[in-house]
């Protein structure tokens, strides 16, 4: 597919927003734009007062300088590093003692005791998931971005991980954007659901609202979302990107 264009505008507060839609709707592309892995053609991306991207001001902060924890769909755990090394790789900017303390904390929060010296290939799917989360969170990013992180898991493990993620979110108290094409996942997890279709947003709102009044109240819901949230908030406006796939 080439000539795909994404044109979205939304904002969120300190909450768990779920981007939901069919594969190829532009959900992952949105996460990549927020993280700085690809630059939109135009628009802007802001977190609180910090501008990460602004096409008119020609600002484009590189991904290294944005503080977003990112968990990829395939997790992208480094296969040549142990669990400990993977987690510590995320501890950029911490000195040796700090990162040692942070590692111990992550190991305990994510229940990874006794796995520290294993390679990713030697642990289970659920454990890999927790390592990926620990690696993304060790330096306490401002926000967590999750790209279909549970899609490769068996049902019971997936349900467990969903519960675990909600617990983690309340513990770390940071906004989370979760991308999924699983409607029930969106329904059970989301504070706000943002429904994507064909590179556009067709509906935004709390899951109950979206489910009770699907798509028909599209405009009303979009207007409402503008004033709902105050601090912290991330704002994305009208950007589009032609992405070659």
């Amino acid at each position: 597919m080439d000539g795909f264009s994404l044109d979205v505008e939304w904002e969120m507060g300190n909450e768990l927003a779920v981007l939901v839609g069919y594969s190829g709707a532009g959900k992952s592309l949105t996460l990549q734009a927020i993280a700085g892995l690809m630059g939109p053609d135009e628009g802007n991306i802001r977190l609180n007062d910090c501008v990460y991207f602004d096409s008119t001001l020609k600002i484009n902060v590189p991904p290294q300088k944005r503080s977003f924890g990112y968990v990829f769909q395939d997790l992208a755990l480094f296969p040549h590093m142990t669990v400990n090394e993977n987690i510590l790789y995320g501890a950029k900017g911490l000195d040796k003692r700090e990162s040692g303390d942070a590692l111990r904390e992550m190991i305990s929060v994510f229940h990874l005791e006794r796995l520290g010296n294993n390679l990713p290939s030697e642990i289970s799917g659920g454990q890999k998931q927790r390592v990926a989360l620990a690696r993304a969170l060790i330096r306490r990013p401002q926000m967590l971005l999750l790209d279909e992180p549970f899609s490769a898991l068996d049902n019971p493990v997936r349900r467990e991980m969903r519960k675990f993620l909600l617990k983690i979110r309340s513990e770390f108290n940071m906004p989370v954007i979760l991308v999924t094409h699983d409607i029930s996942e969106a329904y059970t997890m989301a504070d706000t659901m943002i429904v994507y279709a064909g590179g556009r947003i067709v509906q935004t709102g709390p899951p109950s609202e979206v489910f009770n009044n699907p798509a028909s109240q599209e405009i009303e819901l979009l207007l409402k979302s503008g004033g709902l949230f105050n601090y912290p908030r991330i704002i994305l406006t009208a950007f589009s990107k032609k992405a070659a796939r």
Partner: protein, 221 residues
């Protein structure tokens, strides 16, 4: 064994080892730039660096003479500055081996680096790691297999270098006669028994080297 044979053997190993050190350093950096960067003329650079692989070594040697000879583009200022010429020294043999074997290193390393999953690189960036850190801690370790293969092939090619070496370093007994060159002059002067010993020695050495590198490669990977 005759001293001249030992000399040639030692010289060949020395030339191959020194040129491989430079090949690995230059090859990894070049392969990284070609694999990861986009710039105008990138494929032209790649083509120029690959040419010595397909050109007859004598043609490569001829270009090197034009460049490094006493009247060459770089050779003349170097001679005027230092009073020295690179031609007909073992350094010249190193340069010839370097130029001829470098493409093997670049090709294999570039392919290995290009096949590193982009998500690993993106993950490293989102974890706040710079491009250099990402290259050293993620891309290079994950391309290890190709880099080792490239280094082994380059070393073997450098050991066997003949044509360009002969053009640039000449055939000076006891000075620049590497094994391939010594074998050539021994055989052409009809010293068959000596040539026999050298050929068998060289074959055994190359075989042993390939065997060890395969074994080492398996253990490392």
């Amino acid at each position: 064994m005759e001293n001249s044979i030992l000399f040639s053997l030692r010289l060949s190993l020395q030339v191959a080892a020194v040129s491989t050190v430079f090949i690995v350093l230059v090859g990894i950096i070049t392969a990284y730039v070609l694999a990861r960067k986009d710039f105008r003329g990138k494929e032209v650079v790649d083509m120029l660096l690959t040419l010595p692989m397909v050109l007859p070594p004598t043609v490569t040697g001829f270009y090197l003479i034009m460049l490094l000879g006493r009247n060459g583009l770089l050779g003349r200022p170097f001679y005027e500055l230092t009073g020295l010429s690179i031609m007909f020294t073992w350094y010249a043999a190193v340069i010839a081996s370097f130029v001829v074997a470098l493409p093997l290193m670049i090709k294999t390393s570039r392919a290995a680096m290009e096949s590193v999953d982009k998500n690993f690189i993106n993950a490293s960036y989102t974890l706040g790691r710079s491009e250099l850190e990402t290259a050293l801690k993620v891309i290079l370790p994950l391309s290890k297999k190709g880099i080792i293969a490239g280094a082994v092939l380059s070393f073997a090619r450098a050991m066997g270098e003949f044509g360009a070496t002969l053009m640039l370093a000449g055939n000076l007994p006891g000075k620049t006669d590497t094994m391939p060159i010594a074998i050539y002059s021994t055989a052409s002067s009809g010293e068959w028994s000596k040539a026999n010993v050298m050929v068998i020695l060289f074959t055994m050495l190359s075989g042993l080297f390939l065997y060890l590198s395969n074994k080492l490669g398996k253990r490392l990977i």
